[in-house]
Amino acid sequence: MTPTVEKTLLIAGIGMVGIFVFMTLFYLLIIALDRFLPYQEERATEELSEDSITDEEE
């Protein structure tokens, strides 16, 4: 294997591993966002506040 081929494969290998590492971290980031900022809670809070407004109006 020539040095050029070795370097090529090294860059390609590091590049692909780097992209997968980056994307996996992104994946974990999104999971964390979902865990700490879930939609359900937000909606539930909104519904609660809407209910309380309706109650107050009544």
């Binding site: 050029t4 081929v5 370097k7 090529t8 494969l9 860059i11 390609a12 590091i14 590049g15 692909m16 780097g18 992209i19 997968f20 980056f22 994307m23 996996t24 971290l25 992104f26 994946y27 980031l29 999104i30 999971i31 966002l33 979902d34 900022l37 879930p38 939609y39 937000e42 909606r43």
Partner: protein, 385 residues
Amino acid sequence: MNTLLSLADNLSKFWSYTGFFNAEIGHIVMILIGLVFIYLAIKKEYEPLLLIPIGFGILIGNIPFNEAANLQVGIYEEGSVFNILYQGVVKGWYPPLIFLGIGAMTDFSALIANPKLILIGAAAQFGIFGAYIIALQMGFAPNEAGAIGIIGGADGPTAIFLTSKLAPHLLGAVAISAYSYMALVPVIQPPFMRMLTTPKERVIKMKTPRVVSQTEKIMFPIMGLLMTAFLVPSGLALLGMLFFGNLLKESGVTRRLAETARGPLVDTITILLGLTVGASTQATTFLRVESVKIFAIGALSFVIATCTGILFVKLMNLFLKKGDKINPLVGNAGVSAVPDAARISQTTGLEYDPSNYLLMHAMGPNVAGVIGSAVAAGIMLGFLY
């Protein structure tokens, strides 16, 4: 008599300045190529917003004139109008502005709702590194191979950005190749999608994505920027602008800025980018064996990206529970041709099950592909610049 001689002399001089006098076969061939681009854009509607400026740019760039006369009209003549407009390509500041617009029009909800799809966007980047290896084996220098490899990301602005840094002399061929294959995505991808999937796999119905909260949508570009800046600083120009544009869209308080970014700004830059890239493809630099090789490697890179995306989904399905399986027809969307690749997933899926709508699911890997190709460009830049 003297007047007649003077008139003849002036006419002869005028003739020597005309395009007819200076035309060579290369100019004619390039003009024909420009006309084909315009024809494809108007008649076949292949990426008209890009192919018309590029096609017309090819016409402008290949109008023959007397270069010795210093008319300052050519794109490579310092100080000419086209040369000044071309600086946005040469210095690499058009592509980040396009990314700003892309960010302002992209909805990352599909990705946030089903984050495992982001890995498909990573797998499809094998196209870039596969093409990089092939280009090196075909005799290109490492920096040239990096620029050629990025065609596999199916992202025109990224290809132009990286090539302007690594191999500016290949800019025309790489840009034309990238945009041509992006326009041909509906032709290139479906045969490989059918070849690599079974009839049973093609009708997999994916779970309806969950609803994404506005807070998540706002936090995503901020966290994305911070992660990019710390992990791949060389990708900051593209990804920084992408996430900035997305925050303008999602914040809900900068609607005017978001509308400008995804409307007039991106349109203006697209016009300037297309026109100047087209004009930079002159016969002397474009009609060479290298360009043919670049086109061949570009086609291969698209095929590799499509195949690896689909195969990776099949691999993921081996580990996923029955209800969570992914339809492999969304694997092609790992390339960043947004939203064309996702639309192909949708149309191909509908051929086998008219009630199976894959567009929303395919948008996840599609926008992940935009991020993935920009990260790949950043990595290439880090190694080869």
